[in-house]
Structures are given as structure tokens and as C-alpha cells.
């Protein structure tokens, strides 16, 4: 296992160099669907972080028992369990938010980001590394969601976290809080990230 990245490397990679949304293009369903405001975006990021962390730890704990042809079943079972837990907790203690997010919390089950981390890292490395990886990826995912949500909420409603940041005369760009705004923002931010990457690599070479 000498060629596997260390816990620290896993952690750092998840945040920017291998950002789940901007670099791996994973987990785009919640990225597009719930980023019309900072609050739902962060709730979603926290739920994903919880599921990712728990799933990674459990899978890493049982990694030596996994049979190759049955591993996906085990991954899915584990992820589905933690998603259900997250969903029930939101419904019980953050009822309004759970209503806003609607089906997108149960849909975390099919978020490729989580199964990807189980496959790439947790099923091969120690619990500590798997946890570090999960936290790194979750931070990266949270950063991506909140960057998109910030653009959409500020342009679309003139508010940030539900508080007014732009003057009252600001004409709300309603399109930004609607689905087309999600695609436009994601596309433009992706372009921006790539553009910055190109400039950086040009400078270093």
C-alpha cells in the first residue's frame, strides 16, 4: 500500500485540487437543485458530510471482509442507512428545511460522490485516512455548493443567508433562483475555475 496517498494528502486533495464538483464533476444533482439559497445549500452540504463521513468510516472498518463482487451492495446499504437517518433527523428537528429540500435529501443515496469515496479510498485504506478523506471531500463539496449558492442568492434575491446585502433598488434576477440559473452559474464558475487553473499552470511553466 505504499503508493496510496496519506491521510493528510487525502484531506488536502478533497478541498481544492480534487474538488468533487469543480474537478470531478460529481454530485451535480444537489449542486444544481438546492443552491438557490445559502441555507438549503449548507444544510445539504452538512447532510452529505455526515453521510460521507459515516459511510467512509463503516466501509473502512469492514474493508477486509468485503467480497469484491458484493462490495457495491454493501456500499449502497451503508449509504442508504445513513441517508435515511439524516432525512429523519432533518424532518424531526429542522422541519421547514426538510420541506424545502424535499426529495433531495433521500436522493443523496444516489450521489456518486459518496460511493466514489467508498470505492476509491475507504475500501482500501485505514479508518483514519478514510475519515480524513471524507472530511476533505465534504469541505470541498461544501465550498462548491456555497460558492454557487452565494452567487445565485445574491443575484437572485439581493440577500445572503436571508439577510439583505444589496440595496432595495436591486432588481432581483429571478432567473438565478430558478433552475436555469443553476446551470448558468455552475457552467460559468466551472469555466472560471478552469481559466484560473490554466493561468496558474502557464505561470508555473
Amino acid at each position: 500500500m505504499a503508493d496510496q496517498p496519506t491521510a493528510f494528502e487525502r484531506f488536502v486533495q478533497g478541498i481544492l485540487p480534487e474538488n468533487p464538483v469543480y474537478r470531478q464533476l460529481l454530485g451535480l444533482c444537489p449542486t444544481l437543485a438546492v443552491t438557490n439559497g445559502m441555507k438549503p445549500a449548507l444544510t445539504m452540504a452538512c447532510s452529505v458530510a455526515f453521510v460521507l463521513l459515516c459511510a467512509n468510516i463503516v466501509i473502512s472498518l469492514i474493508r477486509d471482509l468485503l467480497k469484491p463482487h458484493l462490495r457495491i451492495v454493501v456500499f449502497t446499504l451503508t449509504i442508504a442507512t445513513f441517508v435515511t437517518i439524516a432525512d429523519r433527523f432533518l424532518a424531526a428537528y429542522l422541519f421547514q428545511m426538510s420541506k424545502t429540500l424535499g426529495p433531495y435529501i433521500p436522493l443523496i443515496i444516489v450521489n456518486c460522490l459518496i460511493i466514489c469515496r467508498c470505492e476509491v479510498c475507504a475500501s482500501k485504506q485505514s479508518v483514519f485516512t478514510a475519515a480524513a478523506d471524507a472530511i476533505g471531500q465534504a469541505i470541498g463539496f461544501g465550498l462548491a455548493l456555497s460558492s454557487i449558492a452565494a452567487v445565485r442568492e445574491i443575484l437572485g434575491t439581493g440577500m445572503f443567508f436571508g439577510m439583505r446585502v444589496l440595496p432595495e433598488v436591486w432588481p432581483d434576477w429571478v432567473i438565478m433562483v430558478l433552475p436555469p440559473g443553476a446551470f448558468l452559474t455552475l457552467g460559468l464558475l466551472l469555466g472560471l475555475v478552469n481559466w484560473v487553473g490554466i493561468i496558474k499552470s502557464r505561470r508555473s511553466s
Binding site: P171, D172, V174
Partner: protein, 336 residues
């Protein structure tokens, strides 16, 4: 293998400015009609001439509103084009007038009452997201002016929808109240044919006068700058569907007149749908395109919440244009 590499290199080194000196086979992205800048410029100037009657009528009807809207859109489209092209590090394309055409078409498709930022944002989106992101003129999938209009239509629904047209009440001679199409859809009232034809009604500043649009459109068709198949097929399809609906409702024919001569139908059929970049290349494809656009216009007008559907219909058909091109592309001999 080395042979094909060499070929690739020649294509890469090829610039459109070489065309005049070099009479070798010209390779460029479709459409091939406009392969030199001079040609594009000539076409665009034709379009500008064709737009003159529409612009004049709009200025006559809406006065300051029209002048304001035209200036805002024209200036911001030119600035946006300049900035975006600079950002991509390309040579200047302002001279080919395409940005100017987009600006004027965009302005003519906005309601006169829309505040200044609507025109500015629509222009920036039209140029940036409608055109430059795809790689500039000739590469764009969607009609840039309509992309810009669709953006502000959804973003500022309150300022762009049927209701906004009524804000203009009492400030302009001859025109006030709801647009004929929305009045018909929501209040069941109708307007005289002559008003619809000459444009004494409310609406987007360029769409009200069918007469002006038809005069400009016929000029374009006779100059062969716009194809005749698209406007003809759109108008025929709308006529057919409106006719069937009218007969089914046992109407008096006013319904047909409204759907043909009010709203953006004539303006859209002659100036928007015929954009050579975003419409099919073959004659058969153009018929299909026009038929589809006409169908969608009527579906949106009759069954959706919007009173008018030309913009969305054209955008949707733009999206299937590559497919239509593929279907109708004549197969070279021996490759079928």
C-alpha cells in the same frame, strides 16, 4: 499516419484572411454561406436596411421609449462584443455589424417600458452567453438576441410579462392597454385588423406593425439574405392551426387575424427565425424548421401561461437545428 498529421497542421494554420490570396479548398465551421468577413458584413448591412421600416415605425409609435431602448441595446451590445472578443484575444469583429444587428433586434423585441438595466443585461447575456461562449459568430447554437431576451424575460418576469406592457398607458399616443394577444387570451377582447396591420397597438416596440415587418422581410427575401422557406412555412403553419382552432370554436376569423398579425409573429418569422447561423442549411430542413417553429408558437400561445411564444419556439427549434441538418444533409455518393 504522418500524412494525416500533416493535414491537421495545414488546417490549424489556416486563417480566414488567407481566403483571398489562397484559392485552396476552404475549411471552416458551418454555415458555409458566410465564409468571409466581407460577406458577413454585406449580409448584416442588408439586415440593417431591412430593419429600417420597423425601427421607424417603432420610433413613431413609442417615441422616447423606442429611442431609449434602441440606444441602450445597441451601445451595450457593441461594448459587450468588444470586451468579450478582447477577452478571447481575437481580432476585432465589430466591423461585421453582427453585434449591431443583434442589438437592434433585441431592442425591438423588448417592451418600451422596460427599465435601462433590462436592455443592458439582455445585451451582455446575448453577446456573452448567446454567442461568445460558443466561439463567436457562426458557432452559436441559439439566436443571441433571443437568448438575451429569454434571460431577462425569466429574470425580470414582472417587468417583461404581459402586465408590463400596460405600464406605458397614457404616455404614448395611440397605444395603451394590454397587447392584443394577451387581451384576446385573458379578456376575450379583440382589435381591428388595420390597427394590427399598421401597428397602432401595444407590444414590444418592434413587433406591433406587421406591415413594416413584411416590407423589411420581403426586402431580405428578395436580396436572398434570408431564405423564403422559413417565413412562409411558419406563417402557413400558424395560419393552419389558428384556422382549425377558429373553425372548432366557430369564431369569426378575428382569431386567425390576431394570431397572424399581432404579437411577434411577422417580426419573428422574417428577422429572428431566418438567422442563417441558427437555422438549417438545406431547403428541406428550412421547411421542417419553419413548420416546427409555427407549431411551437401556437402550442405556447394556446396552451401555456404566456400569451406569446415566438421567442421560446425559435430557441427550441434552434436546439434541434443540428439534428435537422443531419437528417436533411444529402448523402455523398457511395457513403450511404
Amino acid at each position: 499516419m504522418p500524412d494525416s498529421n500533416k493535414k491537421l497542421d495545414t488546417i490549424k494554420d489556416f486563417k480566414s484572411s488567407d481566403v483571398k490570396e489562397n484559392t485552396a479548398i476552404h475549411v471552416a465551421p458551418s454555415p458555409h454561406i458566410r465564409d468571409t468577413k466581407a460577406n458577413t458584413q454585406k449580409m448584416m448591412i442588408d439586415v440593417l436596411i431591412a430593419l429600417t421600416p420597423v425601427v421607424l415605425v417603432s420610433v413613431y409609435l413609442f417615441r422616447a421609449y423606442a429611442v431609449k431602448q434602441l440606444l441602450i441595446c445597441l451601445v451595450s451590445c457593441l461594448i459587450a462584443e468588444y470586451v468579450f472578443v478582447r477577452m478571447r484575444g481575437r481580432s476585432m469583429t465589430l466591423k461585421d455589424c453582427s453585434a449591431g444587428v443583434t442589438g437592434i433586434i433585441l431592442a425591438l423585441s423588448l417592451p418600451g417600458s422596460a427599465p435601462w438595466f433590462v436592455g443592458v443585461i439582455a445585451s451582455v447575456v446575448a453577446m456573452g452567453i448567446g454567442k461568445i461562449i460558443f466561439g463567436g459568430l457562426g458557432m452559436n447554437i441559439f439566436n443571441p438576441a433571443m437568448v438575451g431576451r429569454a434571460f431577462v424575460m425569466i429574470a425580470f418576469a414582472g417587468l417583461m410579462s404581459a402586465g408590463s406592457y400596460e405600464n406605458i398607458t397614457g404616455l404614448v399616443d395611440a397605444v395603451s392597454g394590454a397587447t392584443p394577444l394577451s387581451a384576446m387570451k385573458f379578456n376575450n377582447t379583440s382589435v381591428e385588423f388595420s390597427h394590427l396591420f399598421f401597428g397602432n397597438t401595444n407590444g414590444s416596440i418592434g413587433e406591433t406593425s406587421s406591415a413594416a415587418c413584411i416590407i423589411g422581410g420581403l426586402f431580405l427575401v428578395f436580396k436572398k439574405t434570408a431564405s423564403w422557406q422559413i417565413p412562409v412555412s411558419i406563417v402557413l403553419t400558424v395560419l393552419a392551426i389558428a384556422g382549425i382552432t377558429d373553425v372548432a370554436k366557430a369564431g369569426s376569423g378575428l382569431f386567425i387575424v390576431h394570431h397572424l398579425f399581432s404579437g411577434a409573429l411577422m417580426f419573428g418569422a422574417f428577422f429572428i427565425a431566418t438567422d442563417p447561423v441558427t437555422s438549417p442549411l438545406t431547403s428541406k430542413g428550412k421547411w421542417i424548421f419553419g413548420f416546427g417553429t409555427g407549431m411551437l408558437i401556437m402550442i405556447i400561445r394556446l396552451f401555456s401561461g404566456y400569451p406569446e411564444g415566438v421567442m421560446f419556439a425559435v430557441l427550441m427549434m434552434n436546439a434541434v437545428t443540428p439534428l435537422i441538418n443531419r437528417w436533411t444533409n444529402p448523402q455523398p455518393m457511395g457513403e450511404a
